[in-house]
Symmetry: C2
Subunit: 105 residues, 2 copies
């Protein structure tokens, strides 16, 4: 039996301040999650599929922050919560910012 969770709450990038966007991306765990999602197809990565050193509660907190910054969309598929990077909407709101954090350097 799967426990029922509240559906995730989302914020559209248009409602996000540049300060929030920067603060959200400045965290190394969130930066890693964004980079992983950028190299994965939409809705293929569950929250449990990331190789992070933080606990479940901390990881959940990071996903909440990513949703609140308009960076990630989530939906529940049975027991899995799957993710996509809101690449197009975020790019429209903050042109070039994703490209900066996704580049190799």
């Amino acid at each position: 039996m799967v426990s029922h969770r509240a559906a995730p709450v989302h914020t559209h990038p248009d409602e996000v301040s540049v300060q929030t966007a920067l603060a959200t991306l400045a965290d190394p765990v969130r930066l890693y999650l964004v980079r992983e999602l950028a190299s994965s197809d939409d809705w293929t990565r569950s929250c449990g599929s990331f190789d992070v050193s933080v606990g479940k509660a901390a990881l959940s907190h990071h996903f909440t922050a990513l949703r609140a910054a308009g960076l990630v969309e989530q939906r529940d598929e049975g027991p899995r919560r799957v993710n996509r990077l809101r690449r197009t909407e975020f790019e429209t709101r903050f042109p070039g910012l994703l490209a900066l954090v996704l580049r190799d350097d």
Copy 2:
């Protein structure tokens, strides 16, 4: 008599990680300082010329962070420490980032 301070230590933007750049700009006081410097001529603004609600020690800490992120250059002119935004170098290193934080929205 003016107390002698150590010359400020600078970091070139080329040596700055994107994570440091984002974290530095995500702070509201530092964002304000960067915006003020962007609308001022180089070397015209002393550290004491900004209308901030933080104390001297905190302000000094913010300027240290701005230098460490390659955002601000400082030099001492007698008793004044004056500033310039490293607009060109920072733009070369992080294209579009300054424009994002300087725009009105």
